[in-house]
């Protein structure tokens, strides 16, 4: 919460605020000092909030028409598409909204990786973010099962079977997850329940994510600690609100393009065939946003180790604030890290590509190399780089490189004397 005391102007406002300080909270959110150099990569937090609310609202509406029963789910989805007023629109927004959500979250995560936003004192923000990301993947997977098409059914079969890799208790856990001896009606009803629950868990975690953010304040493109409020900051409203709003409009154009022009391009045609436990589709491929992890799973020839590698690939991110030993946050001042960063981006894109291809021959070889490099980046490159890399000088404030001087005059003086020596 902000340092200064806030008192509402009106008498009623004061009366209310003394009993429940909602107005103090609103004032904190509007006045919240934000670094003035935030670029458009920082607008994805707002965009993600929009995505979450879109998914919750469209999901709520779909749940009014959807029937979670193995005999009726597929028909009820077609009923939504054909009979329900604007049902096609709402379902296409929900289905493509999942992809848009992941698109935004990947940009958000890679922004954090570039500018070192996960570093001290923002580790808790980062870890909450990773938990949100895991929940997003769970929600996306559960939701994909609900239309009860062939991809739904077999995707559910393959993913739940991952748990059978656990020694001794694996089979028992899978039976427990299914509520039977295969993916069937009991599985569908519980998946629907959990799919409905998770977005609200995410919403709660988003509140914590933002709360944790508002303690140290935003990181910024040059990754330095700034004085707040100062010449280096602008109030959240109207400056950031307008910027976020503009970026959101641009994002909505992309979103609308998918919804109205290619609503099925990110899905699989097989999912318009009703689930059939006797026939497996020729190619089972997860949704695009899970492909890099799928590639890691398949690149390991052992079942249990493959599952462990896939989970580690996600969980290793939680340890990132401690694996990256560099004191400098922003890649702008880290010439070597910047190159490794782009190699990692390419590596993940390659993993995504081979994840969509059959796991054989050259594709398998590429997947193995890319998997090895992924872990190498986090476990070897980052810890060593922090000690070996020669970083370039970091400005003392945001305004300093342009205007000279700094709100922190003592620091400027100290550095200048240091330079003269």
């Amino acid at each position: 919460m902000s340092e200064h005391e806030y008192t509402p102007k009106s008498k009623v406002g004061k009366w209310f605020n003394d009993r429940l300080p909602l107005l103090t909270l609103a004032n904190h959110l509007t006045d919240y000092p934000t670094p003035k150099n935030l670029n458009y990569w920082w607008t994805f937090g707002g965009i993600l909030t929009f995505c979450l609310i879109t998914q919750i609202v469209t999901g709520l509406v779909l749940a009014m028409h959807y029937i979670a029963h193995a005999d009726m789910a597929f028909q009820s989805v077609e009923h939504i598409m054909r009979d329900v007023n604007y049902g096609w629109l709402i379902r296409y927004i929900h289905a493509n909204g999942a992809s848009m959500f992941f698109l935004a979250v990947y940009i958000h995560i890679f922004r954090s990786l570039f500018y070192g936003s996960y570093k001290s004192p923002r580790e808790i923000i980062w870890i909450i973010g990773i938990i949100i990301y895991l929940l997003m993947m769970a929600a996306a997977f559960l939701g994909y099962v609900l239309p009860w098409g062939q991809m739904s059914f077999w995707g559910a079969t393959v993913i739940t079977n991952l748990f059978s890799a656990i020694p001794l208790v694996g089979e028992g856990i899978v039976t427990w997850l299914w509520g039977g001896y295969s993916v069937d009606n009991p599985t569908l009803t519980r998946f629907f329940t959990l799919h409905y629950l998770i977005p609200f868990l995410i919403l709660g975690l988003v509140v914590l994510h933002i709360w944790a953010l508002h303690v140290p304040g935003n990181n910024n493109p040059i990754g330095i600690d700034i004085k707040k409020p100062s010449k280096d900051t602008v109030p959240f409203h109207p400056y950031i609100v307008i910027k976020d709003g503009f970026a959101l409009l641009m994002f909505m154009i992309v979103f609308a393009f998918f919804v109205f022009y290619t609503p099925n391009i990110l899905g699989h045609a097989d999912n318009y065939i009703e689930a059939n436990p006797l026939v497996t589709p020729a190619h089972i491929v997860p949704e695009w946003y899970l492909l890099p992890f799928y590639a890691i799973l398949r690149s390991v020839p052992d079942k249990l180790l493959g599952v462990i590698a896939m989970l580690s690939a996600i969980l290793i991110l939680a340890a990132l604030p401690w694996l990256d030993t560099s004191k400098i946050r922003s890649a702008v001042f880290r010439p070597l890290y910047k190159q490794f960063y782009w190699i990692l981006v390419a590596d993940v894109l390659i993993l995504g590509y081979v994840g969509a291809m059959p796991a054989e021959g050259l594709y398998l070889l590429i997947a193995r190399i890319a998997t090895a490099y992924y872990f190498l980046h986090f476990l070897v490159v980052l810890p060593i780089l922090g000690f070996k890399e020669r970083t370039t000088p970091v400005p003392l404030s945001i305004t300093e490189p342009i205007l000279g001087g700094s709100p922190n005059l003592a620091a400027v003086k100290k550095r200048d004397t240091f330079k003269d020596q």
Binding site: V158, W176, G180, P186, V279, R298, P301
Partner: protein
Amino acid sequence: MEKKTKRRDFLFTATYAVGAVGAGAVIWPMIDQMNPDASVKALASTEVDVSAVNPGKTITVLWRGKPVFIRRRTPEEIAEAKSVKLEDLKHPEKDEDRAKNPEWLVMLGVCTHLGCVPLDQKGDYNGWFCPCHGSHYDTSGRIRKGPAPTNMEIPEYKFVDANTIKIG
């Protein structure tokens, strides 16, 4: 300074212990309700008429929501399955142990990798091939190549009479 165990420490420990048992008693029904229910378990066995199955033909029946392959094998397939050396197998099992009556192979049509349904008469060993991640099975349903860890499972079954198999 040595800490003496007091009456109050005993009370705390006893309270925590009783609390833990109580919490467990409440949580277990919440967890166990997700296990297969009575109606699912009631469908645990099925009888199949195999009189129409000619040699070289496979029928697929649904048992506990899973496909079961019932294949009437040709003499060549039986010979091929029996000729394999055990040391060549990833999961060594004799064909005799998998097909008590060598003419009939009854097994779960579920790939032991991640649960897809393998395709009949495909793959490098004239048996089954799983399209999902490329596991090859032989004419006895044993894993020969690919990521699957074990042979396809043989369910409990028996011949009720010459033409009827009871699975489960």
